[in-house]
Symmetry: C2
Subunit: 217 residues, 2 copies
């Protein structure tokens, strides 16, 4: 496979664009798409710069015109992941009614995203991407997801459906719980011992809400 198409390119004027020639303005886009396909179909370890270049039909050196290094490509993939996850959370919330079910829908869709796109999730949060602070637009995409969560908590508070307190602080607790569950599932850390995975999201969000402390009768 990877039949390396015949490369019939003529540079300047070019009327009817053949759709298998990709890279004019947008080799960058093509490389990100290739990387997404690799990661989805073969996992994070298959995401190499050379493989992405092959998939996009260019030489191994070509990506360096568009990405400083492999880290930069990983950052772009991670950023797409955060945008997709934020979108999924928004959609889930829009189908829910009052603030509390919106909040739960958000948490559940976080976990669902991780289960549905485990390799992508691993790129978003895994250690291959060493220094996230170096990629501002990635940080911004991640912050947007967190903002959504904080706003959902604040809405619950306004409706008297959540404990009072700084919503950013409560947000860190909520984020930790859904993220931890997602990460444990994606790593395969939650085995047969721990119930059907579908129920864990429901349970953890409920447990988070009730708290572990004794119910004051």
């Amino acid at each position: 496979m990877s039949a390396r198409q015949p490369s019939s390119r003529r540079p300047a004027r070019r009327p009817a664009g053949r759709r298998d020639r990709y890279h004019h303005g947008d080799l960058r886009r093509a490389l990100v798409d290739a990387a997404l396909r690799l990661v989805r179909r073969e996992g994070p370890r298959a995401l190499t710069l050379r493989a992405a270049a092959r998939l996009a039909g260019v030489s191994q050196a070509a990506p360096y015109r568009h990405f400083a290094d492999k880290q930069a490509l990983l950052a772009a993939v991670a950023e797409e992941g955060f945008r997709a996850m934020t979108g999924a959370m928004r959609r889930a919330m829009s189908e829910a009614g009052e603030p509390l079910s919106k909040f739960r829908a958000l948490g559940l869709s976080y976990v669902e995203f991780a289960r549905g796109h485990p390799a992508h999730f691993q790129v978003m949060f895994g250690p291959e991407l060493a220094d996230r602070t170096a990629y501002p637009s990635l940080a911004e995409a991640a912050a947007e997801a967190f903002n959504l969560l904080v706003a959902a908590i604040a809405d619950c508070q306004k409706a008297g459906l959540a404990r009072e307190g700084n919503p950013e602080e409560l947000g860190v607790t909520a984020w930790s719980a859904v993220h931890g569950l997602s990460a444990l599932i994606v790593n395969g850390q939650l085995g047969a011992r721990h119930a059907p995975l579908d129920e864990l999201g429901e349970r953890v969000t409920r447990g988070l809400f009730l708290g572990l402390g004794p119910r004051p009768a």
Copy 2:
């Protein structure tokens, strides 16, 4: 530390052992130690089979006598990590008094372990290690840590300090919260926006305990 002890074991006759010759009975041990040094000092990406072999002073092919492949070495490193973490949690608990402070000590020491050994934590939970179910002793070491947590919750329940319910189920919620916080910190996902990191452990364990729901007055 771990000064590569002179290995004063003589298989048969062998008078003055040169201390840079290591490998008689325990190249396996030497390779795990080398891997731990690499991961601690240079991060998970530096953990290569060849580098571990170099550090142990053997050829690049030698590790294959003791590990089926790189995954197997990673599994050994991860297993050591779980044992070290379990030890740290036990120590922290033994210094606490009643069940509830024991439980909080356990949670805090989980987060502290992650912050203190980020690269090791990443090997324990990261995606380089693809299939954890293939390594039973690793799974057992991980289960031991989880058992400790479940027992701590059950003790709280007996003392009336935690909500009733299946302690394994509450345990998944608690584990998710401390694990999620640890993972977010280690990934650098919790930036300047989110308070001093030292306080986050306290906050999340407290938030977990109180719950996010409204306090029934």
